[in-house]
């Protein structure tokens, strides 16, 4: 089974001090796993196999259980991607405003330097096409505005 921590104490595994601090902040909460994973993803850009092992040990879960959660949600990744990310909404309301024609334009502007990620709905459905970079939102995008956004990401 996936109990990767068997026989090892959590302290022995959590060599990484920032990771240990994040885990310590959530242990004891009700349903701690998702908020914990969010913090780990934000701090390290991913939830690595080592982090999964440390989290599993601290929460008394098997590593398989933690990995199952990490792999289920779109927000958590197993390896970090350091490139800037432009999230482009391609749900129905943005499609109605022509986002599909903008996708190749954005991808061409992005090349390999920027990641253009598809998301389904940013809640800006009356002013689409819409995109998000970090916590900044952009609406009423046309090809020129989107290219500028990708180039400045």
């Amino acid at each position: 089974m996936g109990g990767g921590a068997a026989g090892e104490s959590p302290q022995a595994i959590i060599a990484d001090a920032p990771l240990a601090a994040i885990i310590a902040a959530h242990v004891g909460r009700e349903g701690p796993l998702l908020p914990l994973l969010h913090d780990v993803q934000a701090a390290f850009g991913c939830v690595s196999a080592e982090a999964e092992r440390a989290i599993a040990a601290a929460l008394n879960l098997s590593r398989a259980e933690v990995h199952g959660v990490v792999s289920f949600y779109h927000d958590f990744t197993e390896v970090a991607d350091p490139r800037p990310c432009v999230q482009l909404c391609r749900a129905e309301a943005c499609q109605a405003n022509g986002v599909e024609a903008l996708v190749p334009v954005a991808e061409q502007a992005a090349g390999t330097r920027v990641r253009v990620q598809t998301v389904y709905c940013l809640g800006l459905c009356s002013v689409g096409p819409a995109a998000r970079v970090g916590d900044d939102l952009y609406a009423r995008l046309d090809a020129a505005a989107l290219v500028a956004l990708v180039e400045n990401a």
Binding site: L34, H38, F72, Y120
Partner: protein, 507 residues
């Protein structure tokens, strides 16, 4: 000094409200950041002494202050888009500062909670029942009955407490009402949850917000901190989702809150009896909970029940989105027709082309053709036409839309977001995409796997387009009746409606 009001709603920010606000501040004006009126084509909308200007850019600031701007729209509250609405849930939209306790109380805030707390939980539930309030998340289940079930559920050592969970995982494309409430009027949601908690005897509540809404999460956390003393001993915590659409389904949401994969649970047991951590749990949508403070005011239930039609009581915040000229938030009593919404209030398409289809109720909602625009906006009227009102999102499409592509997208979206627990949804959605692709580009040779001798039930000749369409309809039937939750169960609605009303797009 002149006071200028600019929204700090995420949609206004996306349209450039911060730059406009900064330009007014630089010009010497006092800037107040308020919630959004919901007239999204005018964002960033600037308000000075009740008069509106929009959509404003920093270049318009001098003319607006001088009173010579051509972007003046007159008094905002007299604008037909606002004047035609019956705003209960969105009564404060545009009028108050989202995090001002002072503004909240001055506009009737906490009156419902104070009155509710002077009553027994049973009496509160009786008033909610009397109002006819139904769950606004999509299913339309009577809120009072759900609360009564939770209140009556026995506690035990294994299930020692009750919870109130707010479903704010607003993933449907074309919907933003939850987001506008959380960002623009967060205390109203807190008040609604506190009333629910009093009614059912809960001390802890969670708001599960999708991670795509960072502004809403920040506003809620600030509002919870500011109002903690008012709603005490009830405690609320915000939890962020992690990008899974299916977590808007209540049992999947509960699993996610517990820190598990967001897989759907089989029902029964109902969450009202065995919900979060196995405890009796109220799970209500944001719009359901924010209707509650109005209902609990004196005579509120009767006022609410007098609005609407048939068994669809009260008001519905309808969201006009997609290719719509005047998009935004339109709260009105149930019964309004799509024609009024789309052609009247919405002003037709933004592109100026004829409207071809409207999708109501998010990615799982049916596409309606203009021939059905007479339908009154109500749960039963839509259900009778194989459509649903869902969360009240109305997405317009002009005549350039390819309905076959939209049907394919519905299946593709279901495949991407399926939790994987049940087969009709997990496999059916992928088979659906393949089938629609084959309808577009009919196969010329027999599928090699299907031709194998042990494939007794496979067709031994290449299927015609007509046979593929029949197979697609059959697949939809299986998904509709065989899926565990609405994701697999309702994906057939957009697919079958596209097939039924626009057969030409599938030729």
């Amino acid at each position: 000094m002149v006071v200028v009001r600019v929204s700090d709603d995420a949609l206004a920010l996306a349209c450039g409200a911060d730059a406009v606000a900064a330009a007014f501040a630089a010009a010497g004006a006092t800037v107040e950041r308020v919630s959004s009126w919901g007239m999204h084509w005018l964002e960033p909308l600037v308000e000075i002494d009740g008069n509106g200007f929009g959509p404003a850019t920093p270049a318009d600031v001098a003319a607006i202050l001088a009173g010579t701007s051509p972007k003046a729209i007159g008094r905002i509250e007299d604008h037909p888009f606002i004047a035609g609405q019956t705003r209960l849930t969105f009564a404060r939209a545009g009028r108050t500062r989202p995090l001002s306790l002072e503004d909240y109380r001055a506009t009737g805030g906490w009156a419902g909670l104070e009155r509710a707390r002077a009553m027994s939980g049973e009496d509160v539930i009786a008033e909610v029942l009397e109002s006819g309030l139904r769950g606004r998340g999509g299913a339309g289940f009577p809120a009072g009955i759900k609360w009564r079930t939770v209140a009556a559920a026995p506690l035990s050592a294994r299930a020692p407490r009750r919870y109130v969970v707010c479903n704010a995982d607003e993933g449907d494309s074309g919907t933003f009402a939850d987001r506008m409430i959380m960002e623009g009027d967060p205390f109203q949601l807190i008040e609604g949850m506190a009333i629910a908690a009093h009614a059912v005897g809960a001390e802890l509540g969670y708001i599960y917000v999708r991670s795509e809404y960072p502004h809403a999460i920040a506003k809620l956390e600030a509002a919870i901190a500011l109002s903690a003393g008012i709603v005490a001993p009830f405690v609320i915590e915000v939890r962020a989702g992690a990008g899974a659409y299916v977590c808007g389904e209540e049992t999947s949401l509960l699993n996610s809150l517990e820190g598990k994969r967001g897989e759907v649970r089989a029902k029964p047991p109902l969450p009202a009896l065995e919900g979060l951590f196995g405890c009796p749990t109220v799970v209500n949508n944001v719009l359901t909970l924010v209707a509650v403070p109005h209902i609990l005011r004196a005579d509120g239930a009767a006022i609410y029940a007098a609005l609407g039609v048939d068994r669809s009581k009260g008001t519905m915040p309808i969201q006009l989105a997609g290719n719509i000229r005047f998009g935004g938030l339109y709260e009105v009593a149930f019964g309004i027709t799509l024609d009024e919404l789309v052609n009247g209030i919405g002003g037709g398409t933004r592109s100026g082309r004829p409207i071809k289809a409207v999708q109501v109720g998010g990615p799982l909602g049916a596409y309606l053709p203009p021939a059905q625009f007479h339908l009154p906006f109500a749960y039963e009227a839509y259900a009778a036409e194989d459509a649903l009102i869902g969360h009240g999102g109305v997405v317009g499409f002009d005549d350039t839309v390819d309905m076959r592509a939209m049907a394919r997208f519905a299946m593709q979206f279901c495949a991407a977001e399926s939790c994987g627990k049940c087969t009709p949804c997990r496999i059916g959605s992928t088979r659906g995409v393949e089938l629609i692709d084959r309808i577009t580009a009919p196969a010329k040779a027999l599928d090699p796997v299907g031709a194998l001798p042990q494939m007794h039930n496979a067709a031994k000749a290449v299927r015609s387009v007509g046979e593929d369409i029949a197979l697609l309809e059959d697949l939809c039937e299986t998904m509709k009746f065989g899926s565990l939750c609405a994701l697999g169960g309702f994906t057939p609605y957009p697919v079958l409606s596209a097939l039924r009303h626009w057969p030409g797009d599938f030729q």
